[in-house]
Amino acid sequence: MTVDLAVGIGGLRLANPVMPASGTFAEGLDKAVDFDRLGAFVTKTITRELRTGNPLPRVVERPGGLINSIGIPSKGVPYFLAHTLPYYGRFRPPLVVSISAPTAEGFASLAAELTRPGIAAIEANISCPNIEEDGKAFAMRAASTEAVVRQLRAATSLPLWVKLTPNTGDLPEVARAAEAAGADALVVANTILAMAIDLQTFRPSLGSVMGGLSGPAVKPIVLRQVFQCAQAVDIPVIGCGGISTAEDAIEYLLAGASAVQVGTATFVQPAAMTTIIDGIGRFCEKRDIARVADLIGAVVTEEADQPDLAWVAPAE
């Protein structure tokens, strides 16, 4: 049996559901992975302005994951257009460009500038502070999400993916707001705000005090968020958080993800993405599942009992 691995993300067809997570992928991985095997490329978030990124140390490891505060070192748009864009043009997978800006207008104008051949979709990383409001990330609230996505939608004809933050308590509302404003897909989610303190020095382990947790430790949390978002919206959800194995990816597909992004796992096993693609194929084959798309949202909850979530915050 040959398994059909293809999935569709809001009109964009991917040869398989596995792609890198923004900020954990760059040209160098080509040494270890055949890029033509990936479902898509997703760039590190770029900004219009030049940035150097955060102070060091930028990474600290914890059991089952890492906290990072890389920030967004960015060489700006001209560099991106001159170097990065043509580089990825050589390969088959579609190129998704992750963007960020401090204002809704900044997002929109960057998206407009990037609406050009060779770019298959825009991923708007709206987990960044909105300097026009109180500095809270756009994705923390439904209203600010809706506002920025609406401007983005007006600015580009490209498929628009919106990457949400796991740090909000209103995820389903935020997801619905992004959908209502015209997002073609949601990426759930960015890293979870976290902290570590060095017991030798009594200082935070990261140069910027707090950072984002990623890796296996966050998987059960983000899986729940993907499940909630997939229930809340009709557009595809792309799962991202702690995926290291094919089993992790399949859990996300079952929970409702139409595709997955792999980040931190690549740091530990550079070939993680292709290993996952192979594993998903084998899983489907063994179970006589003809299309990987049949796994999407296939979790069986109908007969599950009603929860008594008396001391756990409920779904919404």
């Binding site: 999935v7 009109g11 040869a15 270890a32 890029f35 140390p57 990474v59 070192p73 550079p270």
Partner: protein, 287 residues
């Protein structure tokens, strides 16, 4: 639900293109450990059987080792270790490491016959001009590990090496015999003997320069000694290369956690140690 829009597709990927001719140049593989033993109170010598890709490693490159978990600790990331030796014929790579924390504590537990997941070769190694006749290698601590394969490669080029080895105590000097075996002349300086200070090393280097034995500097492991060489390199217009360290996550230039400041064309710029280095132009490096 999520698949509502899947009915029509824009084929963004050109699946008809012929497959590229791609081969991996970095592998993560579970190699058999052939040796893992202490060489002195601080350093251990590790030899791992590897495949053909890893065996192409050159001096100055490094590997990322996936260290076993010591009891009660869970090192999550790989640990970078310089190439200490490579034998393409025997398909072996060698490392020299110091036990400093959870990862290297885990490494120390491995027995010959066990498997160790090594990933590499990584980074940009030393650029060794075969036209050089005399070079100087200055190393301290684990820096000696990094310079060892350089001495071997230099010899293959017919380049003579004078190595200055710095350590806290004479008994912590490693690889002296290895370097001599590669035909290098070795000068040792130590803290306990009061010979490792920058002033004394500078005197030695000035002597080598005067003798025409310092056409290029290669250094690793001490920013104090690096600064001495930078000064002399500027004064005498001597080329130089330095292997740098920085905490790493991916080792492949993906994550930007390993950046350092470099001085390039009058500007301070960030470079990724794992990708743009670990070997850099001596004059661009900042301590």
């Amino acid at each position: 639900m999520a698949t509502a829009k899947d009915s029509f597709f824009i084929a963004a990927a050109d699946d008809a293109r012929p497959p590229r001719d791609w081969t991996e140049t970095v592998v993560a593989e579970r190699g058999e450990v052939l040796l893992n033993q202490a060489v002195n109170a601080e350093y251990r010598h590790l030899v791992v059987r590897c495949g053909p890709v890893a065996a192409k490693a050159v001096a100055g490159q490094f590997f990322q080792l996936l260290c076993p978990h010591p009891e009660g600790e869970q090192p999550f990331l790989r640990r970078p270790m310089s190439l200490y030796g490579v034998d393409p014929a025997k398909s072996e790579v060698e490392f020299l490491y110091k036990v400093t924390g959870a990862g290297t504590r885990g490494l120390a537990l491995i027995a010959p016959g066990d498997r160790l997941d090594i990933m590499g070769p990584l980074g940009k190694g030393f650029d060794l001009d075969p036209g050089l006749r005399h070079i100087v290698a200055v190393g301290r601590g684990a820096g000696l590990a990094t310079l060892a394969p350089l001495a071997k490669a230099a010899r293959a080029n017919g380049t003579r090496v004078t190595a200055i080895f710095s350590a806290r105590r004479p008994d912590l000097l490693v690889s002296v015999d290895l370097f001599r075996g590669h035909g290098a002349e070795v000068i040792t300086v130590t803290d306990s003997q009061g010979t490792s200070g920058p002033a004394h090393v500078e005197r030695i280097l000035r002597g080598l320069i005067a003798d025409g034995r310092a056409e290029a500097f290669f250094t690793c492991g001490s920013s104090r000694l690096m600064r001495v060489q930078q000064r002399l390199a500027r004064e005498f217009a001597i080329a130089g290369q330095v292997a740098m360290e920085q905490q790493m996550a991916c080792g492949l230039g993906l994550c930007f956690c390993c950046v350092r400041d470099f001085h390039v064309g009058g500007e301070i710029v960030h470079r990724r140690v794992c990708w743009d280095g670990p070997v850099f132009d001596l004059m661009e490096a900042l301590p």
